[in-house]
């Protein structure tokens, strides 16, 4: 009698612990979600009043209520163009090499361990690399191109890893079919593997860029100016040759730098500006992330090998 009672008590206790843990798990989930909500509401509460059209079309100013983020968002946009133009070709090419070409040798192992380590290097160290190499050794200055290159190196591991995963998901039979018809390795890659893995690669590129857009530490380290009341020169001109690359070497400011600058000012009025700009930045990154998540979701649903 007492044995079965003891057993029953044990079972009851085990089941109760099980339920308690479910509660803990839900609490942890709610904790993460509520931080997200609090962060968002806090920014909306502080910054919504500053979000009017003028905020996007005015330069930074010494008077908080007249300051805007024109130079910041244009600068961010220009830097992102450079970052994408550098990181995407190099990242995708590295991914292709490692998945389709690389022999299993010491060199490949070295590259792999490097990419893994680079993914974990603190972003500020990339800033120091850029300061020592791009700014002072190559003499590129604290310009759009320096920032673009720095952020490109920073997101390179993200693009490479995403490319590799996308390529690995393409079944071997596709490759064999291409080879059977006499395709060379590159023809097989460019005509078959790449088109199939494009959505996956695109997801990785967007996630990488959304990380780059919010990175502050490296571009503060290269010495980006915080107070800028002009825009980089336009890339397109009305006279031949119609293209102008001066914007690459122009000084710039960017969204995160503007936020950092406003956050570190003592006046409360600038705090509202900081939260309005932070809200704009968060919406930008969330949109990019949402597009990436949606792309991946569609991809998973539509592909049945």
């Amino acid at each position: 009698m007492s044995v079965s009672e003891g057993l029953r008590a044990t079972i009851t206790r085990a089941k109760r612990n099980d339920l308690i843990f479910v509660g803990l798990g839900i609490a942890a989930l709610l904790f993460a979600a509520s931080t997200f909500v609090a962060l968002f509401l806090d920014m909306v509460g502080d910054g919504m009043s500053r979000l009017n059209p003028g905020f996007f079309t005015e330069f930074a100013s010494r008077r908080a209520e007249r300051a805007g983020i024109l130079a910041a968002w244009v600068g961010t946009f220009a830097v992102m163009i450079v970052t994408a133009l550098v990181a995407v070709p190099i990242g995708v090419a590295s991914g292709i090499y490692l998945e389709e070409y690389a022999p299993k040798n010491k060199m490949t192992a070295l590259i792999e361990i490097n990419i893994n380590n680079l993914a974990g290097v603190p972003s500020i160290v990339y800033g120091l690399l850029a300061l020592g190499l791009f700014v002072h050794t190559f003499g590129l200055g604290a310009s759009v191109q320096t920032a673009g290159l720095t952020l490109a190196l920073l997101i390179l591991p993200v693009v490479i890893v995403a490319t590799r995963e996308a390529i690995r998901a393409v079944p071997g039979s596709i490759r064999e079919a291409a080879y059977a018809l006499g395709a060379t390795r590159w023809q097989m890659v460019s005509d078959h593997v790449l088109p199939y893995s494009m959505p996956g690669i695109l997801t990785g590129v967007i996630i990488g860029l959304s990380r780059a857009i919010g990175e502050t530490a490296p571009i503060v380290t290269i010495g980006a100016v915080t107070f800028i009341a002009f825009l980089p020169p336009a890339p397109v001109t009305s006279s031949p040759p119609f293209l102008n690359f001066d914007w690459l070497s122009s000084p710039f400011t960017a969204m995160p730098i503007q936020i950092f600058n406003w956050t570190s000012r003592p006046e409360e009025a600038f705090q509202a500006n900081a939260s309005a700009a932070a809200l704009v930045l968060v919406v930008m990154t969330l949109l990019m992330n949402a597009i990436a998540i949606w792309l991946r979701y569609r991809l998973r649903r539509n592909l049945n090998w």
């Binding site: 843990f21 974990g120 290097v121 190196l153 530490a217």
Partner: protein
């Protein structure tokens, strides 16, 4: 049979072969950019640090209890900055490890597919928020909140920066841990269930031990993340070097110091300029150790089953 078509075909094959070779070389050189980046980082950090250690002895660097590089009587004790880094990271891990692990166990072993499909994108969005925005949140939301409980808390403090940093790392730890736990084969769980174990008993006594190296990797990579985090501490923990392990104090971390110096206009080649590279080298070595440990542990859990 005429000679011409055969010669033409041979020439075509040769040119095709050459083109393939060129493409392979281009792809390989892209992959080597990752290696070049690491070499560049090490080269720049070591080069500037060597100049620095030419003027400051390494023993002073490791044992001095003051960090006043810009004073007329300069002291260079890295422990002052390291104490801030270690304290804020420890606070962050006190939040991130329990919450992240609970979340991972819940999502991997308890949650229904639908909960998992909703929770994971939310966590990804949380991970995508720029750190400067988290910094703003720590300074203007969490610190005032903590002041309600503990009124003497200074405006800048390690506690609020560490707590927010912990929340930032949660998605990171939970996603790596969950991957590790899902890699545990179903048969192990089924064996335990057949013996009458509850879900919690299976999770804690079977899955967690089996996925241990993966969990350890998640924690170690989390530490590396916390140590290298810059903007949250730069905004919310203050910029005053302070040898302290008290969470309610303000103190500069290694990363915050680099930001602070880089924001000002230090002449290239001065001792102040070189200190940030010495600080950066310390940071790089610290994270390198953690990253390599994490890399090998992760590789192990992938290969185990």
């Amino acid at each position: 049979m005429s000679q011409a078509p055969i010669a033409g075909r041979l020439a075509y094959r040769r040119s095709r072969h050459i083109r393939e070779q060129i493409i392979e070389w281009l792809l390989l050189s892209s992959a080597l950019v990752a290696v070049a980046t690491t070499v560049g980082i090490v080269f720049i950090l070591v080069k500037e640090s060597l100049v620095f250690f030419g003027q400051v002895s390494i023993i002073d660097f490791l044992t001095d209890s003051q960090w006043t590089p810009l004073f007329s009587d300069p002291h260079f004790g890295i422990w002052v900055l390291l104490s801030g880094t270690l304290t804020s990271s420890a606070i962050a891990l006190c939040v991130a490890i329990p919450v992240g692990t609970t979340l991972a166990i819940y999502l991997s072993e308890f949650a229904s597919a639908r909960v998992r499909e909703t929770a994971k994108p939310i966590l990804e969005l949380l991970a995508g928020i720029p750190t400067i925005v988290f910094g703003y949140f720590a300074l203007f939301f969490v610190t005032p909140l903590l002041k309600i409980i503990y009124p003497e808390l200074p405006g800048f403090n390690l506690l609020s920066a560490g707590l927010v940093m912990g929340v930032m790392i949660v998605p990171y730890i939970s996603s790596i841990s969950e991957d590790a736990m899902r890699a545990v084969p179903m048969s192990l769980r089924e064996g335990a269930y057949a013996m009458g174990a509850t879900r919690l008993q299976v999770a804690l006594n079977v899955v967690v031990p089996a996925a241990f190296s993966g969990l350890a990797a998640a924690y170690i990579l989390g530490i590396s993340r916390a140590v290298g985090e810059t903007m949250i501490v730069a905004v919310a923990a203050g910029m005053q070097p302070n040898l302290t392990f008290n969470p309610t104090d303000q103190a500069a971390t290694i990363t915050a110091y680099i930001v602070q110096v880089a924001k000002g206009d230090l002449p290239h080649g001065s001792v102040g300029y070189q200190t940030i590279f010495a600080a950066g080298l310390t940071l790089f070595l610290l994270t390198l150790v953690f990253n390599l440990m994490g890399y090998f542990l992760r590789k192990r859990f992938r290969e185990e089953y």
